[in-house]
């Protein structure tokens, strides 16, 4: 089964079950679950985790429907439970989507930064000041900003926002891309063999994962014994 079809099947099943709890769960979940063994599904880690999540939710709902139905069940509680679950699930999907969108936005920014805008500022002084803009400075905002920027600098906690300890994705991807650029075809093993420490190898691996997500390179491993082949992604 095609990966996207599988995910959309699972989603619509989950929505059906949540909408109508008397729905007879005829669908054989085990069949769906077994399709997880399909090779192309396993390759895509993101989709894989989404599938696990969807399937787990389905199993849980199905298990619940198999329990002996007590006449006295408080149906309001029951509906509330399903609503909460829906909400939690929607939140999770929403969050996941935002995280992917963030990467997509960054990818667009990176693409756009390939074009650099002209700004001959030193000529504007002799020529004419940029005609359409007159700068105003709000005294209060100026003071607040001054306070904030110095507090940030002088206090250790204030430095948190700079996130120095997190790896700089852009830098890591840049160095990976320049390596991939140098040779048309390479492999993860080849790139990793050129570093001195295991930390650097891990860094290359993480950069590779990000570069794949951002759509800059394609990586392929035919089976476990083969090298992980890397090449530049020329598709739009």
């Amino acid at each position: 089964m095609d990966l996207n079809d599988l995910i959309s099947n699972l989603k619509s099943l989950l929505i059906d079950f949540s909408d109508n709890k008397n729905n007879d769960l005829n669908t054989n979940l085990l069949n769906l679950f077994s399709s997880l063994n399909v090779e192309n599904v396993r390759k895509d880690i993101d989709s894989f985790s989404e599938i696990i999540l969807l399937v787990a939710s389905l199993f849980e709902l199905k298990a619940k429907s198999l329990l002996p139905q007590n006449e006295d069940v408080d149906w309001i509680d029951e509906i509330q439970l399903i609503k909460d679950k829906d909400l939690a699930f929607a939140r999770l999907l929403q969050f996941k989507a935002f995280s992917e969108v963030g990467i997509a936005l960054a990818s667009r920014i990176r693409e756009n930064e390939m074009s650099i805008s002209a700004f001959k500022y030193y000529q504007t002084l002799n020529l004419f000041s940029k005609p359409d803009i007159e700068i105003t400075i709000d005294k209060k905002i100026f003071q607040e900003t001054a306070e904030e920027v110095f507090i940030r600098y002088k206090s250790i906690k204030g430095f948190d926002h700079i996130e120095y300890d997190l790896p700089d994705i852009d830098e890591a991807i840049n160095s990976l891309m320049s390596n991939v650029d140098k040779r048309l075809n390479t492999s993860f093993e080849e790139l990793a063999s050129e570093v001195d420490t295991s930390e650097q190898a891990v860094a290359i691996f993480l950069a590779l994962l990000e570069a794949i997500r951002w759509g800059f390179v394609k990586a392929e491993q035919v089976n476990n014994n083969e090298l992980i082949k890397i090449e530049k992604n020329y598709e739009e």
Binding site: F98, S117, L127, E163
Partner: protein
């Protein structure tokens, strides 16, 4: 001829894009005439094999380098706005872009983690700004994306952001 001269000189020295309305008023021409001039300038630049072109849309224009020679410009190009941004910061950027104007609390709620530091990072990069206050007790600050964000992502307006599925509340439903 004179118009072409003024447009190209202005774009060379301008800090970022210039609004079309500025040229329309300055040169006393309408939008169609302006686009014709833009096209003309671009044709010339392409034909002669120049390394820059006039990028424009319905709102604004700018002179920018062509993007097939970036590696020759490595040593002179300004650092990327993405430099030092982590995945959490990008996530926060996406949430502010879609949910704006939005409070820090709401962003943190969606992400499930405290998001103050990410928002500050984005603010100091000029990608988001404090756009107002929510009219509830405590007057929490509302954040929105800047014009620079649109420029950097190449979207003409926020309406151009792609829709992302049924699970999203549209920006107008915010709070």
């Amino acid at each position: 001829m004179k118009n072409k001269k003024i447009i190209t000189a202005t774009l060379l020295v301008s800090d970022g894009p210039v609004q079309n309305s500025y040229f329309e008023e300055l040169l006393e021409i309408d939008g169609n005439k302006l686009f014709k001039l833009f096209d003309e300038i671009n044709n010339d630049l392409t034909t002669l094999g120049f390394g820059f072109y006039l990028r424009f849309d319905s709102m604004k224009s700018d002179l920018v380098t062509v993007n097939d020679i970036p590696k020759y410009l490595d040593s002179i190009k300004p650092p990327s706005v993405l430099k030092g941004l982590s995945t959490p910061a990008l996530e926060t950027l996406a949430i502010i872009a879609y949910e704006q104007p939005v409070t820090k609390l709401k962003v943190s709620e969606i992400r499930g983690v405290e998001s103050e530091s990410s928002i500050k990072t984005l603010e100091s990069r000029g990608l988001v700004y404090k756009s107002g206050e929510l009219d509830v007790p405590g007057s929490p600050i509302l954040y929105s994306t800047t014009d620079d964000f649109l420029e950097k992502t190449g979207f003409e307006s926020l309406n151009d952001l792609p829709t992302i599925g049924e699970y999203f509340s549209s920006p107008s439903e915010e709070e």
